[in-house]
């Protein structure tokens, strides 16, 4: 006849277990990442063992190539070139794209006028933009970075525009009543609400930018990971391609782990974390 559904013992036991594992998860994100990567390598190794193919070299071989390229200094050089392009294009794209996106999200009249332009630029193939940029501005670093940024900006705009449309008007009203200055408004009202959109645009943005940088380097640069990957693609050396790819991924992972995630945890600490 007792129809309870919450019992103290089990509940508090669950709580303790959760607290412990939460502490581990928070204190040791690096450990989780390591475990995760090991798991991935294991899977990869198994797959490479089961279906041996030149197109899927085992992890060890890729590791060997990686070490060799690193020792020769090539890896570092090309990686550095690519990284600088990625960072430059990322900064340009995020800043320009966020500003335009938020404006379009707020002013529906501007939005309905410029939307077709946006659709156009969103769907312009990277090839077209890159070639045009190289033709007009020469085979220069500025043209390359500009071309990448132009490829990415429409995506940022689209995401940030959704964010601006989903803003809660009550906070803006509060800000009006208490006459917050424009800087305070951006910092305390706009940015926290746009944070998830910014994070989304940013994460998928940097990945997209890196992919376009590869194409840019392939079409008209003489260094960088994209240049190298294409070189190895021509002689079909998948191990080397993977080595360069994974070197970049590793850097992204480090940034994610030691920069993005701590920042994000800080920015969203006010959200009651669901288990």
């Amino acid at each position: 006849m007792t129809a309870g559904f919450g019992s103290g013992k089990s509940v508090s036991a669950g709580r303790r277990a959760r607290a412990v594992s939460r502490a581990i998860g928070a204190a040791l994100p690096a450990a989780t990442t390591l475990a995760s990567l090991l798991g991935l390598c294991l899977l990869w190794g198994l797959a490479a063992g089961m279906w041996p193919s030149r197109a899927l070299p085992p992890p060890l071989e890729v590791w060997r190539v990686l070490l060799k390229e690193a020792a020769s200094g090539d890896l570092g050089y090309h990686l550095a070139m690519t990284l600088w392009r990625v960072v430059a294009a990322y900064l340009v794209a995020m800043i320009v794209g966020s500003v335009i996106g938020v404006l379009l999200g707020r002013y529906w009249r501007a939005d309905s006028f410029f939307n077709p332009w946006l659709v156009l630029f969103l769907n312009l193939p990277a090839l077209v933009v890159i070639v045009l940029a190289y033709i007009w501005f020469g085979l220069t670093e500025a043209a390359a970075i500009g071309a990448v940024a132009i490829n990415k900006i429409p995506n940022v705009i689209v995401t940030m525009r959704e964010g601006a449309r989903a803003l809660d008007p009550r906070y803006a009203e509060m800000a009006t009543v208490y006459r917050l200055g424009p800087l305070d408004h951006v910092r305390h009202i706009l940015m926290p609400q746009l944070q998830p959109y910014f994070a989304a645009a940013s994460r998928s943005g940097i990945a997209l930018i890196w992919k376009i940088v590869l194409v840019v380097e392939l079409l008209g640069r003489s260094n960088g990971v994209g240049f190298q990957i294409y070189l190895y693609f021509q002689i079909f050396d998948v191990a080397a391609i993977l080595a360069y790819t994974l070197a970049f991924v590793a850097i992204m992972l480090l940034i994610e782990l030691f920069l993005v995630q701590p920042l994000e945890r800080h920015a969203t600490r006010w959200r009651s974390r669901s288990a």
């Binding site: 006849m1 129809a3 559904f5 509940v11 006010w270």
Partner: protein
């Protein structure tokens, strides 16, 4: 444990409920809180702001499982609970009527809600979205949602604030009708002593945080005898019993 055949009460026995805030502050919301509400009884929780009333309701609703202690809902209660939250919590992307119907079980989905909406003064608001309601109207919509579900247990967190006296009175009467229509156990949080004395069988008086039961006030008087002068008497009775509370 109850002897067979006797309806099981709502039994609360929470030894501790602690929050850890994002900034690391530890807040003990409840400590050694225990009380019972008999099946079919109407009880009120009365206590200072911030003492832990909403926290208690959330635990009983199964929304917060990180506490030590235990509780037990009356029979049949685990599947026919209704709640009026302290804020209306309507889905902003659904109209008033959709919000109410959504909470209904499949069996009741197409129920006729005309009378309910009329009593609540929502008839002309059925097709509005929550952002187009005044706060009082939104509260009434939340009440409509709770009442429409024909619950076996009813949890109410200050349901009648933001309403003018006249409307509040009408809704209190409606609440009594809903509660009396079938055996419903009700637990209501309120800051309004007169309201508690008008509606409740017993009033559970809580201490400031961490919440504990200071004492229980049984409203002996039958409900139809609780008119204005009788209430005045009850109020002074209450103040005599709990000189420090409220």
């Amino acid at each position: 444990m109850q002897p067979a055949g006797v309806a099981a009460p709502l039994k609360v026995d929470i030894s501790e409920k602690t929050f850890r805030s994002a900034e690391g502050v530890t807040i003990v919301a409840l400590r050694g809180l225990s009380f019972e509400v008999r099946q079919g009884e109407f009880a009120c929780l009365l206590g200072p702001s911030g003492c832990g009333k909403t926290t208690t309701l959330r635990i009983l609703l199964g929304l917060d499982r990180q506490f030590s202690g235990s509780y037990q809902l009356p029979e049949g209660g685990s599947n026919r609970v209704a709640a009026v939250f302290q804020e209306p919590v309507l889905l902003p992307w659904r109209t008033v009527e959709q919000n109410v119907r959504l909470a209904l079980s499949a069996r009741l989905r197409d129920k006729d809600l005309d009378r309910l909406f009329e009593i609540l003064g929502l008839s002309s608001m059925r097709s509005l979205y929550p952002s187009e309601l005044s706060l009082g109207l939104a509260r009434r919509a939340a009440l409509a949602r709770a009442f429409a579900t024909e619950p076996a247990i009813l949890f109410l967190d200050e349901p009648f604030t933001s309403l003018d006296e006249r409307t509040a009175d009408r809704l209190r009467r409606l609440l009594m009708t809903v509660w009396a229509a079938r055996p419903t156990t009700a637990l209501m949080v309120t800051h309004n002593l007169r309201e508690a004395l008008l509606l409740a069988d017993r009033i559970i008086v809580l201490s400031p945080r961490p919440a504990q039961v200071l004492g229980i006030f049984d409203v002996g008087l039958s409900r139809h005898l609780r008119d204005a002068p009788a209430l005045d008497n009850l109020v002074s009775d209450f103040h005599k019993t709990f000189p420090d509370a409220v």
